[in-house]
């Protein structure tokens, strides 16, 4: 079924159309890669879904009841079950890996509930489980600020998993990672996508190939092509605007 439906969305910054009549549908479960040259509007697309940027026109519908996300605040959208990893890894560097994960766990989010919150065995077990998954078991008690760049990326993915969202938006997860780390990351994302929708923005073709999923090519704010990686990379318009430019 369709979990997220973006249709006819446009947004301009000072007259510049960053997103132009964009329509994308994401199913559940599904793994989807979004590729496109720099400035194609990939990050802005995620900004719109998560409520950071309001589109000038178009619809963003969510879930079985087709509720519109456009009227909701960032925190409400997150509570609807949409989690996001940012292009630049943003974890809370002053706090430990465990605290970062604990804050993200799916629990009541109101101030009173949080103030009276007591640690539970389930919560601790869930944190261990996620730490295992993202390979940070040994680092749970360390400050997130001292982690390597790749580990911070994983921690942020772990924070996403802890939220247990229905849709994960992952912006350039492999940036700054070694080859081995990249392979671990693709495995992580593919496992996550078995039970939910995952949208991954990535530049690296090898990475996308390993994800082995449907690919959407964005260009100048709209969809240029959609299909398997082989299908889109053999598309002449895609070769012209994207691959061609990269080779040049």
């Amino acid at each position: 079924m369709t979990l997220l439906e973006v249709s006819g969305v446009s947004v301009s910054f000072d007259g510049f159309r960053a997103i132009n009549n964009l329509s994308i549908q994401i199913g559940e479960p599904e793994l989807r890669a979004v590729i496109g040259p720099n400035g194609a509007g990939k990050t802005t697309f995620m900004d719109i879904i998560t409520g950071k940027t309001r589109p000038d026109e178009g619809r963003v519908l969510w879930g079985e009841k087709n509720i519109s996300l456009l009227g909701l605040s960032e925190s409400q959208i997150a509570m609807e079950g949409i989690g996001r990893k940012f292009q630049k890894p943003t974890v809370f560097e002053d706090q430990t890996v465990r605290e970062n994960l604990a804050m993200s766990l799916k629990n009541p989010r109101g101030p009173l509930a949080v103030l009276l919150h007591r640690k539970t065995a389930e919560g601790a077990a869930r944190i261990e489980e996620i730490a295992e998954e993202i390979g940070l078991t040994e680092h749970l008690a360390r400050r997130a600020g001292v982690l390597s760049h790749g580990q911070k990326q994983w921690l942020e993915i772990g924070m996403l998993l802890a939220q247990d969202p229905r849709l994960l938006l992952v912006d350039e997860p492999a940036a700054g990672m070694t080859t081995a780390e990249r392979e671990h990351t693709t495995d992580l994302l593919r496992r996550a996508a078995q039970t939910r929708a995952v949208v991954v923005v990535e530049h690296d073709m090898e990475f996308v190939r390993r994800l082995d999923c449907k690919v959407t090519v964005l260009h100048e704010g709209s969809v240029l092509a959609e299909g398997s990686l082989d299908h889109v990379t053999s598309d002449q318009t895609v070769i012209d605007v994207y691959l061609g430019r990269k080779d040049a």
């Binding site: 560097e93 103030l115 919150h117």
Partner: protein, 391 residues
């Protein structure tokens, strides 16, 4: 039994225990050395200075929570402190004046009517601003319980409304600081007016005299207030240490470091800011209500914008983001300040120019602030971290 204790909050936060122990020892020491309850080595006026300092430490930890932990640089928290002082001051002044008036009218042959008594009290209190009518805000001044409620409710409600408007519009950073300065400036300018109902620039005075305890000497009253202030600081410290520990502390510090990111985790950032802002405002009000009976007088100059800026300076010098740092900063700087400005520090004669500390203290404080900000961003409290880590 042992298990029950290991699960308590204090066990998991030994620094709270250390602080409470140190405060307890200090309090005991001062009491034993005081004139009121002890051997009389410490003068009553110095006991009052120490008691007031404890109240300043209490508002400083509130400031540390709102700024150091939650990242809201409020430059208006002294307004809440002042409101707490005015609220208790109204009862103190009313009840004491009533006592005096009733005694003097009792000497008349015809018993005075309630109206006569009320008029006489009004005359006594508002004569200085050319009025004798009781303004509406004095409606509950005859009730200690209600005025005590106002110590908490008025700062709380003001903070709630102000914070709701500001945070909802996502005013942050320096703009929020300016807005809080405007709030405290507006309040102080309003109170300076003679028709504000709070005696204009005369403020409220004679607050050191506690109605009903006319026969008790100040040496005793000073110790009672000193102990009360110490208790309030202890409770406030434990409360705030609890709030900024655990998951609440995690979220609050996360808001300080990257509030946009916290929103994407599903937390409603504005509610958290409002909670912290209001809670610290209430504690500031309580600190003020304990401070001014020891000071004896409150006037609108007390809540001038500069007072709230000093508060931020104390916390910065003491070390933001650690409660004991705020206590050290407030105690150290405010005591040093009264020593310098009170003529305690000897003037320095340079031959061509005499450095008078009463004039130059502010310059010294300013330089210290700049030096701390540039070279010791963790403040005096940061030294502790350094020493503990070295072991």
């Amino acid at each position: 039994m042992r298990n029950a204790f290991t699960r308590t909050f204090v066990y998991r936060n030994p620094s709270v225990l250390w602080f409470l122990a140190a405060l307890g020892l200090f309090t005991l020491g001062v009491t034993v050395l005081s004139e009121g309850f002890g051997i009389g080595v410490i003068s009553t006026s110095f006991v009052k200075t120490l008691g007031k300092t404890l109240c300043l430490c209490l508002i400083a930890i509130a400031m540390d929570v709102v700024w150091g932990y939650c990242g809201i640089l409020s430059l208006g928290h002294f307004a809440f402190f002042g409101i707490g002082g005015y609220a208790i001051g109204m009862w103190l002044m009313y009840a004491r004046t009533e006592g005096i008036v009733v005694t003097s009218l009792a000497a008349q042959s015809i018993p005075p009517t309630p109206q006569e008594i009320s008029d006489a009290i009004g005359n006594q209190i508002f004569g200085v601003v050319g009025s004798s009518e009781f303004p509406l805000i004095w409606a509950f001044a005859d009730s200690l319980a209600l005025q005590l409620a106002m110590v908490v409710l008025v700062p709380g409600l003001l903070a709630l409304v102000f914070g709701w408007l500001a945070f909802r519009s996502r005013v942050t950073g320096v703009y929020l600081s300016i807005l809080t300065q405007a709030m405290t400036l507006a309040l102080s300018l309003y109170l300076f007016q003679n028709d504000s109902g709070l005696r204009g620039n005369n403020g409220l005075s004679g607050l050191q005299n506690i109605p009903g305890f006319d026969d008790v000497p100040q040496s005793t009253i000073s110790i009672v207030f000193f102990l009360g202030s110490a208790l309030a600081l202890a409770l406030g410290y434990a409360l705030f240490a609890w709030v900024v520990s655990g998951k609440m502390g995690s979220v609050v510090k996360a808001i300080r470091d990257d509030e946009a990111r916290v929103r994407f985790l599903g937390y409603h950032v504005e509610s958290y800011k409002l909670f912290i802002f209001t809670l610290t405002a209430v504690v500031s009000g309580i600190a003020g209500a304990l401070y001014y009976p020891q000071a004896g007088i409150i006037n609108p100059a007390e809540i001038a914008p500069i007072a709230s800026i000093y508060l931020a300076v104390w916390v910065a010098i003491g070390g933001r983001g650690r409660l004991y740092g705020a206590v050290i900063g407030a105690a150290f700087v405010s005591l040093l300040s009264s020593w310098f400005t009170g003529g305690g520090a000897p003037d320095i004669d340079l031959g061509i120019y005499v450095i008078r500390w009463t004039d130059w203290w502010l310059v010294l404080l300013g330089f210290s602030f700049v030096a701390v900000t540039l070279f010791f961003p963790k403040g005096i409290g940061g030294l502790f971290d350094y020493l503990v880590r070295k072991q």
